[in-house]
């Protein structure tokens, strides 16, 4: 499954959601993306990995969509483990992703070294 925009690409394959490029669309633009996340969660995979290592930029509406539409939503499925694979190459990830800890219990954040 795929969803893409002018400067970003979101792909789901083998329980891995990979987001790459730059995501700085307007708040209403995230409705589609949140629906895309819900559709994946509804398939009830035992484990889900969000790979944002190649996501260079995400605006505040995107942070909100990721937190509510994916992380908090994944908690609705019992025993679903969520992994986030991120990179210290991107400053926003280094500064913001660690604050996702504590949003849900079954969340594991893994930083790829620069």
């Amino acid at each position: 499954m795929n969803i893409s925009g002018e400067s970003y690409n979101i792909r789901y394959e083998n329980q891995v959601i990979e987001i790459s490029g730059k995501l700085s669309i307007m708040p209403e633009g995230y409705e589609n993306i949140e629906a895309f996340f819900r559709k994946i969660i509804d398939t009830e995979p035992p484990e889900l990995t969000l790979d944002i290592r190649n996501l260079e930029y995400l605006n505040s509406s995107g942070i909100k969509a990721m937190c509510i539409g994916l992380i908090l939503e994944s908690e609705t499925k019992e025993n679903l483990c969520l992994n986030i694979r991120c990179s210290k190459r991107h400053r926003w990830q280094k500064e913001t992703v660690p604050s996702f800890n504590g949003l849900i219990d079954n969340l594991k954040i893994v930083f790829e070294e620069e």
Binding site: N59, S60, C67, L72, E75, E95, T96, L103
Partner: protein, 543 residues
Amino acid sequence: MSNENKEKDKMKRRIAGLEKTLQIVTGYSGRVEKNLRQLFEVVSETMPVPMMISLKTGAILFSNTNAQKIFGYSDEDFHKINASVLYENPQDRNIFIRTLEDQGEVRDFAVSMKKADGTIFPASLFSRQIVFEGQNCLLTVTHDLSELRQEEEKRLLLERQLRQTQKMEAIGTMASGIAHDFNNILTIIFGRLELTMMMLPEDSKAARYIADALSAANRAKIIIMQILAFCRKKEEERRPFRISSIVAEAAKMIQSLTPSNIEIRLRIKSKASIILCDPTQIHQIMMNLCFNANHALRDRGGVIEILLEEVTVSSQEKIMIPTLKPGAYVRLTVSDNGPGMNKGVIDRVFDPFFTTKPAGEGTGMGLAIVHGIVQAHGGAVSLESEPGKGAAFHCYFPMIAEAETSTFVKPEKTIPGGSERILFVDDEKDISDTCSQILKTLGYSTTARVRSLEAFALFKENPGHFDLVITDETMPEMSGREMASEMLKIRPDIPIIIITGRETDDKILSETGIRAVIRKPFGRREIGSAVRDVLDNTPGKRK
């Protein structure tokens, strides 16, 4: 746990999650806002143009350092004033606002802006509507066009000068051609008048009339020389000259161009002083200085004094004019009793393109040229002036020792003659006839020819027959120079004199073996002296 409790717990966790998300997003937004503000500050401070953010009402909310520098207001002052005071005509801001509202943005809005000290400068405004600190604002960038205008003015000035130079070159070429024809005519007039004079008793009425005609012809000769001096295209060339005669000649010309309410007073205290100079450039100095003095006096009238004197510059004076070495100088002073100059003008008066004259009346190059010429002559220029006390420009030229001018020959009272055989060639029959007559009156045996090929054939037939060849330079079939070259191949010791009505480089002629050049128009004395001089300096001459 009951289902109800489970639902409650789930809701609590959801609320906690949302609260945490809010914190995350707020924190993130704060960081982004901070970064954007930093970016704005860096951009606004780095851009090399004034930038301001104002409300439509005119309140200024932000100004970058360049705006503060160009307009002369501090950041605090900007907050106190209305943007309309930055316009020379405050109404222009209304037009600017209307344009912005109509078009959504303003590009290249040409307007005169005003600085805090009242200085007006041409500007071009670029503006867009933005939201700044929650308010609808205008971001305006001011492009100061002063330098651009100055550069444009300089470019136009250079173009004008180039056109003037080209025009002068064209006039020079034309004048040179006219002068050549006039010189030929005058040579005939001089020759015929002098021959006639010889036939008349010295105290006769007719002799006086002829003397007057000769005097008028002389004035015509001077006028042609002056036209050539101003128009000729010639490499800078310096030779020993008696500066007094150049100054007197230039003063006479300036006098004729000066309005009657301005009196020119010429005082030459050093008639014999010799300097190494290009006379055309001395003329130019005189013209430029007197033109400025004329301009200073044109409304009120007054006196322009031209003074030429010898001065000795001591080490004390050297301090006042640092570029001047101690020694003997000729000082040319052009002074006027006009309004004078203030210190600000004096400091810049020799700067290229600086002028106090209204647009279109001065190039600002006159005094820069004077400065450049005097310096190139190894001298210096100084200026004395005060408001209300007139102005005096002093040009110092290094004087050369008399010994260096030993090549100057004092005019003799009697015209030297001889009995040698001369071949005279000129394609103008009248000149040929007149000159051979003159040479005959001086005792020479003269053969005249009007065709160069014929003259050359005559020479080739018996090269030893003639003691001297005098030939015109510009002739059909074979030029004087070509004929001279061929004659010298046959007989390398034959002395040859070239006569010409054009500007000729004497050095090139001497390299070709030509002994002397006589410039038309010439009289009996000039040709007689030159012939005798060349013959006397020829090895194995016979008299």
